[in-house]
C-alpha cells in the first residue's frame, strides 16, 4: 500500500499541478568560506566573538546563520570592525508550516571591497527580534515592511506601524496561509458600501479575472471581433481574421474554411 504524501493544508499558495515523484531538485552550488580569502578572514574574526551556526558561499555571497539574540551585535561588529557599513535589505521568510519559524535575513555590503554578506537567523512565530534601526536607519522602513507583510515582531522600533497596507488591515499578506482571493462578502464589498445591497442584481459581483474581456462590450473596450480599418466607421458586421503569416509557416498549411473535405470513409 502506498502512503499519501503529507501536504500542508494551511498553505494556500499556488502549487504546481504535477510533480514527478522521483525528481530530485538540483541545488545551486555552495562553497566553503575558506575558498574566498576576504570572507574567510571575516568569518574567522566573527567566530571568535559570536556563534556562527552555519556558513557557506553561494553566488558570491557569504551566508551566515547566527543566533537571533546576537543580531544587533553581529551587525554592529560587521559594520565597525569588518567594514560592512551598509545594510542593503532586510526581510523574512515564512517557514511556519515547516518549523514554526521565520527566517530573517540581512543583506550587508562592504563598499570598499565590493563584498556582500547575508546574515540569517531563525525566530519563532511569537518571538520578537531586536530592531537594528539605530545602527542602520534603513531598517526603520524595512522592519516596518517586514512586520506589515509577515507579522514578524520587532522590539524597540520607534514607529512600528503598518507601512504598505492600511492601518486597520487584518492579517499579514506574505504569509503562506494568507488567502489569495477575498471571500463572497469581499466581492460585494464595494457594491454594498457605495450603492447598497439592492444594487447587487444590477451591478453584479466584482470581476476577479483580471484578463476578462467582454468582447461584446463595444463601449469600453476595443471592438473585438468587429474591427474596422483605420478611420472607417464602426460596423456591426463581424470581421474574420484567418491565421496568416506573410510567407507562410514551415510545415503549416493555410486553412481554407470553404475548401474543406469531410472524410466519411474511416478505413482510408
Amino acid at each position: 500500500m502506498m502512503m499519501r504524501e503529507y501536504k500542508d493544508k494551511q498553505n494556500v499558495q499556488a502549487k504546481s499541478y504535477y510533480n514527478d515523484r522521483y525528481w530530485v531538485a538540483p541545488r545551486v552550488p555552495t562553497f566553503e568560506p575558506s575558498s574566498d580569502e576576504n570572507f574567510n578572514s571575516d568569518l574567522e574574526s566573527l567566530k571568535e566573538k559570536f556563534t556562527v551556526n552555519e556558513a557557506y558561499i553561494q553566488l558570491g555571497h557569504l551566508v551566515l546563520y547566527i543566533n537571533p539574540e546576537d543580531n544587533r551585535q553581529v551587525l554592529q561588529y560587521l559594520y565597525e570592525e569588518l567594514g560592512y557599513g551598509r545594510l542593503m535589505e532586510l526581510s523574512a521568510m515564512d517557514w511556519l508550516a515547516k518549523s514554526g519559524e521565520f527566517e530573517v535575513f540581512y543583506e550587508m555590503l562592504n563598499i570598499d571591497k565590493a563584498k556582500r554578506i547575508r546574515v540569517k537567523c531563525f525566530i519563532k512565530e511569537d518571538q520578537a527580534i531586536e530592531s537594528v534601526q539605530d545602527i542602520f536607519r534603513l531598517a526603520n522602513f524595512a522592519e516596518r515592511e517586514m512586520y506589515d507583510m509577515l507579522g514578524v515582531k520587532v522590539n524597540n522600533h520607534p514607529f512600528m506601524k503598518r507601512i504598505l497596507m492600511p492601518d486597520d488591515w487584518h492579517g499579514h499578506p506574505l504569509r503562506k496561509t494568507y488567502p489569495l482571493q477575498g471571500d463572497e462578502a469581499a466581492s460585494w464589498y464595494e457594491v454594498d458600501k457605495i450603492f447598497g445591497k439592492e444594487a447587487r442584481d444590477i451591478i453584479g459581483p466584482e470581476i476577479r479575472d483580471s484578463a476578462a474581456i467582454d468582447r461584446y462590450d463595444t463601449e469600453r473596450f476595443a471592438r473585438l471581433g468587429y474591427e474596422v480599418k483605420f478611420g472607417e466607421e464602426f460596423s456591426t458586421e463581424k470581421t474574420e481574421q484567418p491565421y496568416q503569416e506573410e510567407e507562410g509557416v514551415f510545415l503549416v498549411k493555410k486553412l481554407h474554411k470553404d475548401d474543406t473535405k469531410t472524410i466519411t470513409d474511416r478505413d482510408r
Binding site: V28, M88, R137
Partner: protein, 408 residues
C-alpha cells in the same frame, strides 16, 4: 471680566497644536510634485519643517505575493509596472536573478541588446527626472525639451519591441527579438544628436539664478546619512562616494566597456543634477561602443538551456521533443535549482535587486524586491527636517522616487 470670543480657526487639512506654533500639514497624496502617491505628514514651525513622516502604500499591488504565485516567466511582465519610467531595468534585474539561479549563459548578441536597452532606459529615466524636477522647481521649458528627447527614445524602443512604456523586452535567458533592420542607424543618429541637447539643458539651467538658488545647498545627504540609509545610485554618488554596481560588481558587458563614474562632493541637489547630466553622457559613450560590438555576434538571442528555456520557434515547429519541452515549460514552468539569489543591478534609480529563494518549485518560495526608491522615500524622514517648505519639493524631486517601485 469678559473674554473676547476667540473662535478656533478651522481649515481643511490643517491642524493647529495648542501649545506651540507648530502646524501639521499633509503633503499629498494627490500633490503633483510628489511624483506619485506620496503622502508626507509634516510638522512645521513657521515655514520650517520640524518633522516629516512619509506615508506610502497607495499604489501597493502586492507584487511580491504575485511573484510567489506565478511561474517565473509569467511574472516578468509584472516587473514592468515597478519603475515604469525605465521598465527594462526591472525586467533585467529579475531576469538576471533567475539566470544566476539557473546558471545559464546568455548569448553575446542578447547581451549587447540588453546593455543597449538598459542604457536607453537610463537616459529615458534621467530625462524624465530632469523634465519633472525642472517643472517642479519652476523651469517649464526644460520639461518640454527633455520630453521631446525622451520621445525619440520611446520611439526607438517601440521600433525594437513594440511597446513604449511596459517593454518586457528582456526575458529570462536573453531577449525575445533581434534588432530590426536600420535600427542601429537610428540609434546612432539619436546618439549623435543627444549631446547637443544635453548641452542645451545645461545652458538653460547650469547658471540659472533661480535654479541655483533652489538647488544649491538644499537636500544635503552626508556620507553618514548615505551609509545608514543604504542609499544607492545617484543619491550615493551625490554624497561623494564612488560606488557604481556596473563598475564594482559588473554584470552583462559592463566589464568590457569604457566609461567613467561621475561623483559629486557637494552632497546637495545641484551636485546630483550635475551627476544626472554626466551619467547621460556616459550612457551615450557606452552605447557608442556597443553598436560596433553587435556586428561581431552570432544569431542566437536566447540561452541554450532546454531544461529551463524554450527552444527557438523554428525548432519548436519542427522538432517534436522541443515542442514537448516547450509545452511543459509554458504550462508548468521552469524549476530552478534549490538556492537563493540576490543580484544587485544599477537601475537608473539605484540598487535594484530581486532576492529569490527557490525550493526547486516552479514558483519562488520567497521573492523580495529591493527597490531603491523605497529607501530613498524613507530618507525623507531624516533629510527634510530643518529645510523650508519650499525646499521640500526640490528634495522629493532630487531623490527621484517612483511610486510603482516604492509600493510595489
Amino acid at each position: 471680566m469678559q473674554y473676547t470670543n476667540r473662535l478656533e480657526p478651522f481649515f481643511e487639512n490643517l491642524e493647529f497644536e495648542r501649545d506651540d506654533n507648530h502646524m501639521i500639514i499633509n503633503f499629498g497624496p494627490q500633490h503633483p510634485s510628489s511624483h506619485g502617491q506620496l503622502r508626507l505628514i509634516m510638522e512645521l514651525d513657521g515655514e520650517q519643517v520640524v518633522k516629516a513622516t512619509p506615508d506610502i502604500g497607495y499604489l501597493h499591488r502586492g507584487m511580491e505575493k504575485m511573484g510567489e504565485n506565478m511561474i517565473y516567466n509569467e511574472f516578468l511582465p509584472t516587473t514592468d509596472r515597478m519603475d515604469y519610467i525605465a521598465s527594462s531595468s526591472n525586467n533585467y534585474a529579475f531576469a538576471l536573478s533567475v539566470e544566476r539561479l539557473l546558471d545559464v549563459e546568455v548569448p553575446r548578441r542578447a547581451q549587447v541588446i540588453r546593455t543597449i536597452m538598459l542604457e536607453l532606459n537610463r537616459i529615458a529615466s534621467h530625462l524624465f527626472w530632469l523634465a519633472t524636477h525642472a517643472l517642479d522647481v519652476g523651469a517649464m521649458s526644460v520639461f518640454l525639451y527633455a520630453f521631446r528627447e525622451r520621445e525619440y527614445i520611446l520611439d526607438l524602443i517601440e521600433d525594437y519591441c513594440g511597446a513604449r512604456l511596459t517593454h518586457s523586452a528582456i526575458r529570462i535567458g536573453g531577449v525575445p527579438l533581434d534588432i530590426p533592420d536600420g535600427w542601429m542607424n537610428d540609434l546612432d543618429k539619436f546618439l549623435k544628436k543627444l549631446p547637443s541637447d544635453i548641452a542645451d539643458y545645461e545652458a538653460l539651467l547650469d547658471q540659472n539664478r533661480i535654479w541655483k538658488m533652489r538647488l544649491e545647498d538644499v537636500g544635503i545627504v552626508s556620507q553618514e546619512m548615505a551609509r545608514t540609509w543604504g542609499t544607492s545610485g545617484i543619491m550615493l554618488r551625490g554624497s561623494g562616494i564612488n560606488y557604481d554596481i556596473r563598475k564594482e560588481e559588473p554584470y552583462e558587458l559592463y566589464s568590457e566597456l569604457d566609461f567613467d563614474i561621475p561623483v559629486s562632493h557637494t552632497n546637495d541637489s545641484y551636485g546630483r543634477y550635475k551627476l544626472y547630466m554626466e551619467e547621460m553622457r556616459q550612457s551615450i559613450r557606452i552605447m557608442e561602443q556597443l553598436i560596433p560590438m553587435y556586428d561581431d555576434t552570432d544569431r542566437a538571442i536566447m540561452a541554450d538551456a532546454p531544461q529551463y528555456i524554450s527552444a527557438p520557434k523554428e525548432q519548436i515547429m519542427t522538432q517534436n521533443y522541443s515542442l514537448m519541452q516547450h509545452f511543459v515549460l509554458v504550462t508548468q514552468g521552469m524549476r530552478p535549482p534549490v538556492g537563493e539569489a540576490y543580484v544587485p543591478t544599477e537601475s537608473p534609480k539605484g540598487e535594484l535587486a530581486f532576492y529569490l529563494n527557490s525550493q526547486g518549485d516552479p514558483y519562488p518560495y520567497r521573492m523580495k524586491i529591493r527597490a531603491p526608491s523605497f529607501f530613498h522615500t524613507g530618507i525623507l524622514q531624516d533629510l527634510l527636517p530643518g529645510y523650508y517648505i519650499a525646499d521640500v519639493v526640490t528634495i522629493i524631486g532630487t531623490t527621484n522616487i517612483v511610486f510603482g517601485e516604492v509600493d510595489r
